[in-house]
Amino acid sequence: MAGLTDRNYFLMAVGLYGVSTLYSIFLLRKGFREDNRINYLLLLGAFGFHTFAMVKRGFNFQRCPINNLYEATLLIGWTIVVTYLVFGSFSRLRFLGAFASPILFAIGIFALMRGLDARGSQPVFTGGWSSLHKALILLAYGTFGLSSVAGLMYLRQEHDLKYRKLRAMLSLLPPIQRLEVVISHSLAAGFVLLTAGLGTSAVYLKKTRHVYFVGDAFVVYSILVWAIYGTLLLLHWRFAQRGRRFALGAIGSFAFVMLTFWGIYMISGIHNPIP
């Protein structure tokens, strides 16, 4: 074990997320009739490797490991798994892991892409405002991830209730109205964090480049994401868009982020400068 790198430890964590995802498919088919301790333990083990990978990286590079896209993605995943482990300590909420593990696995696979950690120890972000900016943005994406987990749960339970499946009654999933509230609140929290994150980026730009806005691909992309989530919340609060459509909106928006974040980041001149 001594010769293993932080990436190796993270790889082990992703492996456990993968096993947990497979086990979750089994649980989905069974319909969440019992709290799934096995899944909780799998994710707890993955959390151990995940944390160790981050800590090892921090000690190796003698800095807080939130300096490039790989590390940022690790932090998003870590936020989600920690949140799940806290909720999952209550047996009635332990089934949440079945919805969190596919997202964690996807985030893990995404993080392991070579391009994300191409320059290894070389920090991409520096400075106090920059740190606050990235922490807020990453927390926002972690929260949007949680809203999509709640959205998946909503769609599953709504489908079973619509089609009168007995598993809707037997499952430990919360009532769909409560799930809708969870989606709404997590989206709102994520939106506030993203707004604050974008605000701090303006301050940071003013301090370093004497401008509030730069027409960088990733800045424009972040504003687009902000607008998407803002529209979703506006439709929900102002125009009574609820239920299935709202859940699909939360899942679709996060899927869009997951599919585009990396690509846009790579072409961003200020976030990923060519050395």
Partner: protein, 351 residues
């Protein structure tokens, strides 16, 4: 000193016999006193419910002799003079212990897995305890029975789900709404099942009931009975913006609510979830309304199917429960050091 059980239940006797053997609660302490003074038993608990009358006792007599005496006691208390065949059953250890645990878990109940019996058993035990008619044998056996019931409730699905239409409707509401309390319920057509379903929702805290019926007098009467209010039959749709759950059971020969009528009403409701329970035959609500978003429609067959599925699932859990019970009873008897060779311990006494 072994635990023995003698009694009659819904398995062995009809209600016409059970009701004659039943003990009124006020009579039980005196009956227990009499039983102990007779010297047949040293400890006893009498359980008398609508589905069973049983004596759980610790006796120093040979079981067969004790059963003859106990049956005589039951017949004397009931003043029962008709001929009996196999209504009364008797059990010795370990089957008596298994039986006690099964009763506590609802495995011996008419509605498999029901929980009311546990409360009744606790009450019977506490009554006996208060009057000092129990000691170490029954105290340990009953405490263990209550523990086993709790264990089985949490570890198996024997008590999961509802097996009546009314309680399935309540459970559905709990799967849709954050909380059933504060929900507004509308009853369209004041039939017996709709009334029972509405009462089940009220018992879980539903805020209020609006009743609409072709006979407005009947609607007024039911609304008054349930603390709700009545609306004219042709005005019920006007209340839709406020309500969350509709129970419909009119005798109308056609649909009284269809998709075209509900669609604009959902906009008025700002797309809040709506649970429609159609227990009318012929049906009151067009099935296509279920295609609308945030609308959940269940008819009587759907509710019945869920109740039957639950019952089937409960039956599938019996073997698991019995294995737990045998294991727990064995542990208790081993701890007491009185484990016996299991043999034919169920004796049918007839007169």
């Amino acid at each position: 000193m072994p635990l023995v059980v003698i009694g009659l239940s819904h398995h062995t006797s009809p209600v016409t016999v059970r009701e004659r053997f039943a003990f009124a609660e006020a009579r039980i302490p005196a009956a227990l006193q009499l039983l102990r003074e007779s010297g047949i038993v040293s400890e006893a608990v009498i359980l008398s419910t609508c589905n069973r009358v049983e004596i759980y006792a610790a006796t120093g007599l040979q079981p067969l002799k004790a059963f003859v005496e106990l049956e005589g006691f039951l017949i004397k208390c009931a003043d029962y003079r008709d001929p009996m065949t196999d209504e009364i059953y008797t059990l010795t250890e370990p089957h008596s212990m298994h039986h006690l645990f099964k009763v506590a878990c609802g495995l011996d109940s008419m509605v498999l897995g029901e929980t009311e019996i546990l409360g009744q058993l606790k009450k019977a035990y506490e009554l006996s305890l208060q009057h000092n008619h129990t000691s170490s044998i029954l105290n340990k056996a009953f405490q263990k029975a209550f523990n086993v019931a709790k264990h089985i409730r949490t570890e198996t699905a024997i008590q999961r789900g509802s097996v009546s239409v009314g309680s399935v409707a309540v459970e559905l509401a709990e799967k849709i709404f954050s909380a059933v309390d504060n929900r507004q319920v509308m009853v369209i057509g004041a039939g017996d099942t709709s009334e029972k379903t509405a009462r089940a929702l009220l018992s879980r805290g539903a805020r209020s009931i609006i009743v609409s019926n072709r006979s407005h007098e009947r609607a007024l009467a039911l609304a008054a009975e349930m603390g709700g209010r009545a609306v004219q039959f042709d005005e019920w749709a006007g209340e839709f913006a406020k309500i969350d759950i509709v129970i419909s059971s009119t005798a109308a020969p056609h649909y009284i609510l269809d998709r075209a009528k509900l669609e604009p009403l959902m906009k008025l409701r700002k797309n809040r979830p709506l649970l429609l329970i159609d227990i009318a035959v012929p049906r009151d609500i067009e099935p296509e309304v279920n295609l609308l978003e945030n609308v959940y429609l269940y008819n009587i067959d759907d509710l019945q199917a869920i109740a039957e599925d639950y019952l089937r699932q409960r039956k599938e859990e019996i073997a698991r429960c019995e294995a737990i019970i045998v294991e727990k009873a064995r542990a208790l008897l081993e701890a007491r050091g009185t484990i016996r060779v299991p043999g034919e311990s169920r004796v049918i006494l007839g007169t």
